[in-house]
Amino acid sequence: MTVALFAVFATVLVASSLMVVLHRHPVTCALFLVLAFCSLAALYLVLQAQFVALVQILVYAGAIMVLFLFVLMYLNLKRDLEEGLHHQVRRVIGWGMGGLLLVEGVLLFRPEWAVGPLGRETPQAVHAAGNTEMVGRLLYSRYLFPFELTSLVLLVAMVGAVVIGKGRRRRGDEEAA
């Protein structure tokens, strides 16, 4: 059953990611990205990472994409017009490189690289103690310093977004103020 769930959500993820990249209207691309994020959250649930799955919906689908949609609606963009020879050339090169990298990755991958030393947090232990509790315990003990740093990162981003988004006052406004 887990394999079936993986197959369903993986298909939805790949299909919506392709639509993000291929579709011409930016708002539809944003909505497909939301679908991709939700299917990714479902995959996280299949991987027993409940906290990360819900934080994915809360932060990515619920906040970041809303911000994207706000900006898209504010800019009032229509369908992308991408015709002409240089676009065709760019498309061929882009897809060609993508395909090449994929083939390279598939050929280079060795299964023995993906088996490392097993950690202590076995699925039974995590299920007994609770996923969120264990993540919280790790976050506030071993990863405390990066956690505090991310609060600084967010503060800087907030200040930066407000300052940059406000823009510079034009000459006329400065005389009136």
């Binding site: 790949v14 990611s17 970041i64 800019l75 990755g105 993906a114 996923n131 981003a157």
Partner: protein
Amino acid sequence: MTPLPAGPPLAWYLGLSAVVFLIGVVGVLVRRNALIIFMSIELMLNAANLAFVAFSHYLHSLDGQIFVFFVMTVAAAEVAVGLAIIVNLFRLRETVYVDEVNILKG
């Protein structure tokens, strides 16, 4: 409720992560709209997150999920600042196509 039965091997998850990552790379290379490029970058970040969570599950270590948490935070910060820049650019140049912002003047 009991945990789910054993799922597909790790290689499938890594393959899926690689495919989504490469779709994001192609998006950055092919599209001209700055916002779509931004969305492709988010796809790449999420593909990396998927690899992290898959490893966390198969190697019995929660460090992967902690990293996902940090990646999400940094991605949120990056989106906020990046969209502010794009809005400012639009105000200045009336366009979001990266091909048309090729003059440093102004």
